[in-house]
Amino acid sequence: MVSPFKVFPFLIYSFLVGSLITGCVSYRVIKAVEGRSVPDIFEEFRVGTTTLQEALEALGAPDQVAELEGKDVLIYRRSLLANSGISFGIPLTDIWGSSFDFSAYGELVRYDLVLLSFTPDGILSDIASEKGSRYPYLKTLLSDKKGN
């Protein structure tokens, strides 16, 4: 009987190699987005003149509402999670007693935030914003700067 290794050598070897490296080498990329992007129109808002009504018409329903020191705070938020990892290993435990393994993983959550504070009369008293999505994934993840 002719060996299948002689008839379809590339097919057999490719299949074996493909089967063996599965689980030894892996790379993954995961992205999760929660919420909508906040329109930049809030940059046109003016403290002391913009009203609650105008803000709600421009930005829609806030993701969070709270009272803070006698003022009403509206928070618009979007979160972006990015995760990637690479793993390389040779599982030789059964035949050698030890195995070689290397893996590296990283996860970064960035936030786009707009915080609007209103007086009880509904007049804008403070604006704070942060656009976390402008920070690049790898550069931010690998940065050594404190707070970054």
Binding site: S14, I21, I30, A32, V33, L56, P62, G70, L81
Partner: protein
């Protein structure tokens, strides 16, 4: 070129034989109907009328000059793709939200609507 045809076919075969894909959908459902907002008039409608039209709110928040009723539901869609040694995952979640502002006399002063849940999509992370 012909000599590469068989190896390429084999490579693709190996690739797809050990691959799989998955989709998932999650709904955090609350049956409020945003079209009922047409019946509510700021400065006139009461908290009782709000709950009669929209039902019980998902959350009530105390504010400086009254309360806010928050109606929220979400739709999330997840996609996973595993190709031999590379895997991709994507998760997208969006919300439908209505926020009703009420004064201390329980009269509606403002409201805001964002209907965004339908924008959740399946896809890859790039």
């Amino acid at each position: 070129m012909k000599r590469f045809r068989e190896p390429l076919f084999v490579l693709l075969l190996v690739f797809f034989l050990q691959s799989c894909a998955g989709w998932a959908k999650t709904k955090d459902y609350h049956p409020f109907d945003a079209s009922g907002l047409d019946k509510l008039i700021p400065g006139k409608s009461t908290a009782a009328q709000v709950t009669e039209i929209l039902g019980a709110p998902s959350e009530i928040v105390k504010l400086s000059n009254g309360n806010a009723y928050i109606y929220r539901r979400s739709l999330s869609k997840g996609t996973g793709l595993w190709l031999l040694i590379v895997s991709f995952g994507n998760y997208d979640e969006h919300y439908d939200q209505i926020v009703i502002f009420l004064d201390k006399k329980n009269i509606m002063t403002h409201f805001a609507v964002t209907l965004d849940a339908h924008k959740a999509t399946y896809g890859l992370p790039f």
